[in-house]
């Protein structure tokens, strides 16, 4: 990126300092929100990540001047964002996954649980 004229350069100069102060203020917001006791962990994470995303967006858009880059770069970055999303969803998918987990319903070689407080497998092992 190159500045077309002195006026454009001056505008960018002011913008960079505005972004800097916005980032400092948002850092303060992140710390302040953390002092407030939010009962739901999910909401606490969502708020913290939302502020971090805004800060990250400002850095990428203006300091890395992504908003002024060519579209060819977006193709590369969209691919990165997609696979980053896959990577982040791996822990969630793992916790949702029940494949390979032996549940009572699918125990093919054990008899039914007779409600004696012991699992079918344990009852069989006792014989």
């Amino acid at each position: 990126m190159h500045f077309a004229n002195a006026e454009e350069a001056r505008k960018h100069h002011a913008l960079y300092w505005k972004i800097f102060f916005a980032l400092i203020v948002l850092t303060g917001v992140t710390v302040a929100v953390a002092q407030v006791h939010i009962p739901s962990m999910l909401i606490a994470v969502a708020v913290a990540m939302f502020v971090a995303l805004i800060k990250g967006g400002l850095v990428v858009s203006f300091f890395m001047h992504l908003t002024e880059e060519r579209k060819s770069l977006f193709a590369v970055l969209l691919l990165t964002i997609f696979f980053f999303g896959v990577l982040m969803s791996v822990p969630i998918l793992t916790h949702q996954d029940s494949v390979g987990t032996v549940t009572q319903k699918f125990q093919p070689f054990h008899g039914p649980d007779h409600g004696d407080g012991h699992g079918a497998g344990e009852a069989k092992a006792g014989h």
């Binding site: 190159h2 500045f3 350069a9 960018h12 100069h13 960079y16 300092w17 972004i19 800097f20 980032l23 400092i24 850092t27 992140t30 710390v31 953390a34 962990m41 606490a44 994470v45 913290a48 990540m49 502020v51 971090a52 800060k55 990250g56 850095v59 990428v60 300091f63 890395m64 880059e69 060519r70 579209k71 060819s72 770069l73 590369v76 970055l77 691919l79 990165t80 696979f83 980053f84 990577l87 982040m88 791996v90 822990p91 969630i92 793992t94 916790h95």
Partner: protein, 201 residues
């Protein structure tokens, strides 16, 4: 064999990508860095979700005021790099050099704060092997710290012996500052996510 081979599109934009090759290369490198840190973040989420009794970083003795100071330091260093690049475009090399020296100073300041944080933990007998949280904490902040040191080395070269290029190829030198700046903003970006994830949540 002393004749230098000119690399294509090292200053002028490549017809397909629309930017000089160095910048496109740095963006590709940063894409791979996203996956590197992404793998560590993914591991952190996995372990954390599996352990409901997981404590907050500040409950385990992490120093939030020092980490907040470090966040401000890194954000400050990001703006000084942008300022250096901005002044190079206006042909003000001396001002740009001053901003680059401030950037190096801020980066070293970040590492000094990190040194105090790490030694405070070591003095309390806390090491990466102590528990799951601290193994993640030291791995992620340690890898980030290595990136900061890497940036310092490159900036030191560009301010020192590498600055001779300004006299012969000013546009190419400006591009080098831009590329290093892109890397540096990424290092800042990683910290923006590390700080709340490890210290506050």
């Amino acid at each position: 064999m002393s004749a230098a081979i000119a690399l294509p599109c090292d200053v002028k934009p490549h017809p397909i990508t629309g930017m000089y090759n160095g910048k496109f290369g740095v963006w590709l490198f940063l894409a791979s860095e996203v996956m590197l840190f992404g793998a560590l973040f993914s591991t952190y989420i996995f372990l954390r979700v599996a352990n409901p009794e997981w404590k907050h970083g500040w409950e385990l003795g992490l120093n939030v005021p020092l980490a907040t100071l470090n966040t401000a330091i890194l954000i400050g260093s990001s703006v000084t790099v942008v300022m250096a690049w901005y002044h190079l475009q206006l042909n003000k090399f001396d001002v740009a050099k001053r901003y680059l020296l401030i950037t190096i100073g801020l980066a070293l300041g970040f590492m000094v704060v990190k040194y105090f944080e790490y030694t405070a933990k070591f003095n309390h007998g806390i090491y990466p092997k102590s528990n799951l949280f601290f193994s993640i904490y030291f791995t992620m902040t340690g890898l980030h710290g290595l990136h900061v040191l890497g940036g310092v080395v490159v900036f030191a070269y560009l301010v020192g012996p590498g600055s001779r290029m300004w006299l012969t190829h000013p546009e190419k030198y400006t591009n080098r500052i831009e590329c290093t700046g892109l890397y540096w903003h990424f290092v800042d970006l990683v910290w923006i996510f590390l700080f709340p994830s490890l210290y506050l949540l």
